[in-house]
């Protein structure tokens, strides 16, 4: 199916003066098990007129709102904070709401697919349950012993800085679903779970590091990482994911787990 949506002014911000428009072709990987296509995935192509400030999410909305209401994807905040719209854009995991079309070379068709390694439910929507199950397994919460202090726990600015990077995670799964180990072995915890373990292991207030490191020392744990850096490249929050995984590995070696 090819559809052309021309000369629409939708999505043109009025506040920024003349914004250049351009034509772009969007190729979307479709999977509509209830349709006549059944269990076969296929490609749909759409030609759109878009603007310089438009993101991939704007293009998807334009298709859904003006042409094909059945196109299905998750989204919410639309500015890179909620983590709903990770997808594979031109072969690379990104957030649709944080990727400007003009930055993708609109002269070539832009391909959009669901993130890999998780079961596809419909179009760009995947089942996130296996991803969150891994997250839950690493005990992603502060573990302490003794009585609750009556005021806040004291933590120096340096101690706080130690795990700052990994607190940025929005659980979008861009990293985990970019990992070749995760693709071939669905059992691997994946980068996001390790990032969230890191966030607590290196928090000076936490006393659960040993438990978490034991979980991650499992055969499906941190040692499966082959340091391909896909995850770091994919992270829309700029977290140094591979570095965090390396630090977790080193913590294990130091503690001789």
């Amino acid at each position: 199916m090819t559809a052309t949506l021309e000369n629409s002014t939708a999505g043109a911000p009025s506040a920024a003066g003349e914004i250049p428009s351009f034509d772009v072709t969007i190729k979307v990987r479709r999977y509509l098990p209830e349709s006549s296509h059944g269990d076969e995935a296929y490609w749909d192509e759409y030609k759109l007129t878009m603007y310089g400030t438009d993101r991939v999410l704007d293009a998807l909305h334009k298709i859904k709102w003006e042409n094909d209401g059945s196109l299905t994807f998750r989204r919410s905040c639309a500015h890179g904070i909620c983590g709903s719209d990770a997808m594979r854009i031109n072969g690379r995991n990104r957030l649709a709401c944080k990727t400007l079309l003009k930055d993708l070379n609109p002269n070539k068709p832009i391909t959009i697919e669901p993130i890999k390694g998780l079961p596809v439910i419909k179009d760009l929507v995947v089942d996130m349950e296996p991803f969150f199950a891994s997250y839950r397994e690493i005990m992603p919460f502060l573990i302490t012993s003794g009585n609750q202090p009556s005021r806040e726990r004291i933590q120096s600015a340096e101690q706080r800085e130690r795990f700052d990077d990994t607190t940025k995670c929005i659980l979008c799964a861009a990293c985990t679903s970019s990992c070749p180990v995760f693709w071939t072995d669905g059992q691997y915890f994946g980068p996001a779970a390790i990032v969230n373990a890191h966030r607590f292991i290196f928090d000076s207030r936490d006393e659960g590091a040993t438990q978490r490191l034991e979980v991650l020392n499992d055969k499906e744990g941190v040692w499966r990482c082959r340091t391909t850096f896909n995850c770091t490249e994919a992270c829309p929050r700029g977290i140094e994911v591979t570095k965090a995984i390396q630090e977790v590995k080193q913590a294990m070696i130091r503690r001789a787990i």
Binding site: C77, H79, S84, F141, I154, Q155, I170, D203
Partner: protein, 616 residues
């Protein structure tokens, strides 16, 4: 159809919902139903901080915080509720720290605090450092921390379930239930997005924590999913909504996009300038300048643009100047928002000022509750077993204008109160029978909408709604603009009856979901505009150019709007305007084809503070 029974059902998994869940689930069998995965909720988009008078960096106390909240809300705040919030703020922050929230720290290792709009020392003397924060992702860290603790406590979630009806044992929508009669909430009907299946939840206590309705506007900081669902369900089932005319426009949305740039940018020293480079807030708020409350800053910005001092090719925005701040300071305190400027506008905030303009941000109004988070069905009577907290609710701690950071505080303080009260009530209560056809209405509505043949596009109607709201019910309002807006909404309500969806499937039908959400948006926009038409004064976030002054004699009351059936009378007209007196100020009725919207009022609770002129 599936059937579930829980002591407590919480609808919504943002900050308020999860804070309630942490309380309720340790005391009673609790389910959380959320239309999103919990970590997708819009609490995560909050940036700047959460105020509490910890006095970690300078002298402060909860009484000053209470006063600021009351004055910030232009005295329409219920002062008992504001006092509770300011007092319990301290424990609310400490609770979060103990749960693991990574606050920024002082050199002594305590929770650091920074300045924020409208928060002052000693009743307005100067800006005070009261906002506890985690860089400019405080909301993200609150949402993550609450979710992490829900994982720890094994809270039961129904994710991507969409609540479409509230079941109450009396038909309140007819308006015939006498005052004082016992009314119980007994359950909710939900739609499983993944399968399209209907689930009925019977519960002793129900907590609504469904968030706001920013998508009634075109330019908004709100997520696509903030469509006023909980408010609209309450309204349709005959419950009132309170103070809906008060909508906050956040001063610093990225121009043209509406994406939020935190007030923390100004708390850290950022300055608003017009096209002449002038720091114009010095003229509007000489004492605290750029850190005046949001309603005042937003109006000042709009006024600068209106008077021709806007920046840019179309002179339609102002500039947020951070260029005098050290890049290292910006990176440490404001990393996310500066990245937004880079990503979405291609602006480098180290060296260039950022184009900004007010963006629809927060509903001060909502489902009326008392300070225990129990939902009111009129000025006095509660609905037993029904609670609300967060943006969906109106306690009212924000009055006519919310101070920055007080929303993160509200969700924590009143979320906790709602969860505790819901669990405590569930322990004493019995399950009430549900009607046999509890889901019938919902199923019929869904099927009709899903299978309706060709009609109008949902997006066309929604876009028209958002455009008229932006044009006519934004920062500046008049009788004329609001009447135009209401007339547009009447037309759009008619068009809505004819919308159809293209996706006829049952699985993950977001096309259908958007159609349902549009119905909620229209209902919320409608009562927002009717309440705005009725309030012929200017107060807080509601500014009437034709009535530019605050009018305490006639309007120092909360607006209550009720949706009621027509009784024989003809539809589609407004009640005749009488002279404004305290008796007639809230006596308005708007009639539509099949129902009418009736205005009422509720007294404002005043304890310590007499209304004064609001100067900063």
């Amino acid at each position: 159809m599936q059937f579930h029974q829980y002591d407590v059902v919480i609808v919504g998994a943002g900050g308020a919902g999860m804070r309630a869940a942490l309380e309720a689930s340790s005391e009673a069998r609790t389910a959380v139903i959320s239309k999103l995965y919990p970590t997708r909720s819009h609490t995560g988009a909050a940036q700047g901080g959460m105020c509490a008078a910890l006095a970690n960096v300078e002298e402060d106390n909860w009484e000053w915080h209470t006063f600021d909240t009351v004055k910030g809300g232009d005295y329409l705040v219920d002062q008992d509720a504001a006092e509770i919030m300011a007092k319990e703020a301290i424990d609310a922050v400490l609770d979060l720290e103990r749960m693991g929230l990574p606050f920024n720290r002082t050199p002594e290792g305590k929770i650091d605090q920074r300045r924020f709009g409208g928060h002052t020392r000693n009743h307005g003397e100067a800006a005070v450092r009261r906002a506890c924060y985690a860089a400019d992702r405080t909301g993200h860290m609150i949402l993550q921390t609450l979710y992490q603790n829900c994982v720890k406590q094994d809270v039961e979630f129904f994710n991507e379930f969409y609540v479409l009806d509230l079941i109450v044992d009396h038909d309140l929508s007819a308006g015939h239930v006498p005052d004082g009669e016992e009314v119980n909430a007994t359950g909710v009907v939900a739609y499983d997005l993944a399968t399209g299946e209907i689930h009925v939840f019977q519960a002793k206590s129900i907590v609504f924590a469904t968030g706001g309705a920013g998508k009634i506007f075109k330019t908004t900081s709100n997520a696509h999913t903030l469509t006023g669902d909980g408010m609209a369900l309450a309204l349709r089932r005959g419950l009132p909504l309170e103070d809906m005319e008060f909508f906050q426009f956040h001063p610093t949305g990225l121009a043209g996009l509406g994406i939020l740039l935190s007030e923390a940018a100004r708390g850290e020293g950022g300055i608003l300038r017009n096209s002449n480079g002038e720091r114009f807030m010095e003229r509007y708020a000489p004492t605290i300048k750029d850190l005046a409350p949001r309603d005042i800053v937003a109006r000042s910005m709009a006024n600068e643009v209106r008077e021709g001092r806007g920046a840019g090719p179309n002179k339609d925005y102002v500039l947020l100047d951070l260029t005098h701040l050290e890049p290292a300071h910006i990176d440490a305190k404001l990393p996310d928002i500066t990245e937004f400027a880079r990503t979405y506008l291609g602006i480098e905030p180290y060296t260039e000022p950022v184009p900004v303009y007010p963006t629809a941000h927060y509903a001060m109004g909502g489902i009326p509750t008392n300070v225990t988070a129990e939902v009111l069905r009129n000025s006095d009577d509660v609905v037993k077993g029904l609670y609300a907290a967060g943006e969906v609710a109106c306690v009212s701690v924000h009055g006519s204008n919310r101070l920055g950071t007080n929303s993160l505080l509200d969700i924590n303080v009143f979320g906790k109160r709602a969860g505790r009260a819901a669990a405590a009530y569930a322990k004493t209560a019995e399950f009430k029978d549900l009607p046999e056809n509890a889901a019938e209405r919902t199923i019929a509505q869904l099927e009709e909408l899903r299978t309706r043949p060709d009609g109008e596009r949902v997006s066309d109607v929604r876009k028209a709604l958002q455009e008229t709201m932006d044009a006519n019910a934004q920062v500046f309002r008049t009788q004329e603009s609001l009447e135009q807006c209401l007339a547009d909404i009447r037309v759009l309500q008619e068009r809505y009856k004819n919308v159809s969806v293209q996706d006829k499937g049952k699985m993950f039908n977001t096309d259908l979901l958007e159609a349902l959400e549009l119905g909620f948006l229209l209902d919320i926009a409608e009562v927002t505009v009717i309440a705005a038409l009725n309030r012929k004064e200017s107060r807080g976030g509601h500014f009437r150019e034709d009535y530019p002054d605050r009018d305490d004699a006639n309007y120092m009351r909360h607006t209550m709007v009720y949706r009621r059936p027509l009784e024989g009378a003809e539809g589609n007209h407004e009640s005749v305007e009488a002279d404004i007196t305290p008796d007639t100020a809230f006596a308005h009725v708007s009639e539509f084809d099949t129902y009418k919207v009736v205005i009422g009022s509720k007294p404002v609770v005043q304890t310590r503070y007499e209304p004064m002129e609001r100067k900063y």
